[in-house]
């Protein structure tokens, strides 16, 4: 039984003419212990997918089974508890609370569990040791470098021993040296048996993953198992094509990645320019109901 089971999950933003279909009937099943890298151009729905899996957002349609339980339509308080106990988030911009020191930031999820301050501090200290930040316990977030802040954020994500770590472009703000440190940390967490979902624009980081998802226009257009340590096949192609950005592209502000629309093989149902399917979800909703 898969840990995460998404079935025809759609996410619509806005309404009327301004409707955006951020996720279009995405089905996905993730086994425990997988390290999944999610790639795809900007606006392809990666963050939306992560937010739904992380229970920060609800799907408009479709079903989401987490650990054998239907969770998409659970009450907010239940979802908060699942976020607390099962899921750890790592964000691109660290999202540490600026007024708390590193130790308090890391211990914060435990306060929502009602743990005593002494035990909280002990546990946070231990985790900070693990990420090599023990000597920065009493620093404030603004006193940290990007890499240190991200390590603190990873410590915070780990403190409740979650089964799933969701990292949305965790290295997006870091130089290659810091990226490496952060990725090695995630790899270590993965080796401990955690399931990791990593959103990245950097094809090289697929080396850490056991599986790579490629997204385009709200759908998963490629799903590739890969050996850890190897760059994924399609990712490699993107990687090698990257330097071929022309001067014209740079002048237009278009990066190789954004321009890199997956080819026909990857993208059998080309949907570019198709208007959002506003009617469709009603039908799907019924389908979802019959399934229950």
């Amino acid at each position: 039984m898969a840990l995460i089971e998404l079935d025809e999950v759609s996410k619509l933003y806005g309404f009327g003419d301004a409707t955006t279909l951020a996720l279009d009937e995405v089905s996905l099943s993730v086994e425990k212990g997988e390290f999944i890298a999610v790639m795809g151009p900007s606006g392809s729905g990666k963050t939306t997918l992560m937010n739904i899996i992380g229970l920060l957002d609800r799907p408009s349609h479709g079903s989401y089974v987490l650990g054998g339980k239907q969770v998409a339509h659970q009450p907010a308080a239940q979802q908060a508890k699942l976020r607390r106990d099962q899921i750890g988030f790592v964000f691109q911009f660290y999202n540490l609370l600026p007024r708390l020191n590193v130790l308090d930031n890391v211990a914060l999820p435990l306060t929502y569990k009602g743990m005593t301050p002494v035990r909280r501090a002990k546990r946070a200290s231990d985790i900070l040791e693990l990420v090599g930040m023990r000597d920065r316990e009493y620093y404030m977030p603004y006193q940290l470098s990007g890499g240190q802040a991200q390590r603190a954020a990873i410590a915070r994500a780990l403190i409740n021993r979650p089964s799933i770590i969701i990292a949305d472009e965790p290295t997006g703000n870091l130089d290659s040296q810091d990226s490496r440190v952060v990725m090695e940390l995630l790899a270590e967490v993965h080796r401990q048996g955690n399931t990791i979902l990593l959103v990245t624009h950097n094809p090289e980081l697929t080396r850490y993953a056991s599986r790579v998802l490629y997204m385009y226009d709200g759908t998963i257009v490629g799903d590739e198992k890969t050996a850890i340590g190897q760059m994924a096949r399609h990712a490699r192609r993107i990687f090698f094509r990257k330097p071929r950005t022309t001067d014209n592209d740079i002048a237009a502000g278009v990066s190789a990645l954004i321009r890199d629309v997956p080819d026909k093989a990857l993208n059998p149902r080309a949907k570019r320019g198709r208007p959002p399917k506003v009617k469709k979800p009603a039908r799907r909703r019924k389908a979802y109901r019959t399934k229950n």
Partner: protein, 407 residues
Amino acid sequence: MWSGNLKTAIGSLRQRRWRTIFTMLGIVIGISSVVTVVSLGYGFKHQIVGQINQLGSNVLTVRPGKVIDKQGGVSSLNLYSFLAPSTLTSDDVSSVRHLGLVSSVAPIEFVTNVASGDNGELDNVFVAGTSSNLFDLLHQNINYGAPFSEDDADQNFAVIGSDIAAKLFGVLNPVGSTVHIDGQDFIVHGVLAPSSGGFLSIAQADYNTSVFIPTAAADSLTSNHSNVLQILARVKPQANIDQAAARIRSTIAHNHGGTVDFSVLKQNELLGVTDQVLGKITNFISALAAISLLVGGIGIMNIMLVSVSERTREIGIRKAIGATNRQILNQFLVEGLALSIGGGIIGIGISYLVNLILRLYSSWHPVISVPILILAAGVSIGTGIIFSIAPALQAARKNPIDALRGE
């Protein structure tokens, strides 16, 4: 959980120090004024009850106007009676004096509020005509000199309060000096011992700021248009007090052609009247002070709303790492409560300070009692909850991703 919230709240309030201080100010002003007003009311009541008890239970007080309305057995205070000119006259005084049931009778006739002495003029003096036995009747001690005697009734003698002695002559014992009232000279014959009487005393004056002169002199100053504020009558020990009251009532009513446009009050009725007057005044002023509490509460709500929208991202992060709506609600509720309770504590502190200053520099003796403190505490907690519930709910209901994205 609550202590953690408190720590968070204090941290965030410290961060925004000036904003916190100004927000608290409304509550500080509200709480300190309510506590001060109520404690003044308590203090007055205390003083007056003391005075009335000092007067003794066998003293009847006659006052102009129908002070108490008796309707269906329920007596209530008739405030209009205090506005009407006095209907009591010197004739009433002598009629009462001739009754067999009473042993001692003294009027208090208002003359003027201006008097001058060596140190200049005062315009907040209670100058009253009375008879020589008033001081005995009031159990009021004389510190220096002596009260005027019955034989001095046609002399221009004056017995003055201790404050007047200090203000008009600058000495403790000005016996023999001259005090000028309405162009006439009076020789200071005695100085009263300081009394605790506030301005709301039974004579509606503070003895410390009073000048008493013989009735004859008073009548000549007012050209016989004396304004008899009250008549005090001590009932003989063997006489029944209710009978005596009835006799006095019928005697004065007879003088007034049958109309009872005055009141004869026993000690307990006097207490009741005092209680009611003070209660009404205290309630009225407290209601005014409570408006500042309302304004303070709205200030808290306003600041909390600002705080919630400023910290949208923080709320998003807290939710992402597992805070429930309820936990977010508590966090902001505790912050609002910290503001209002902090303001309440400072307000109570300030009322203690005001209390001390009043006790040192005025004749008032406000009393901060436990019920007032409980009231103040309750009001600040209540204000905090009522006015931070809306902002806290707003914070709690924020959608986590919108909050994370938002700024």
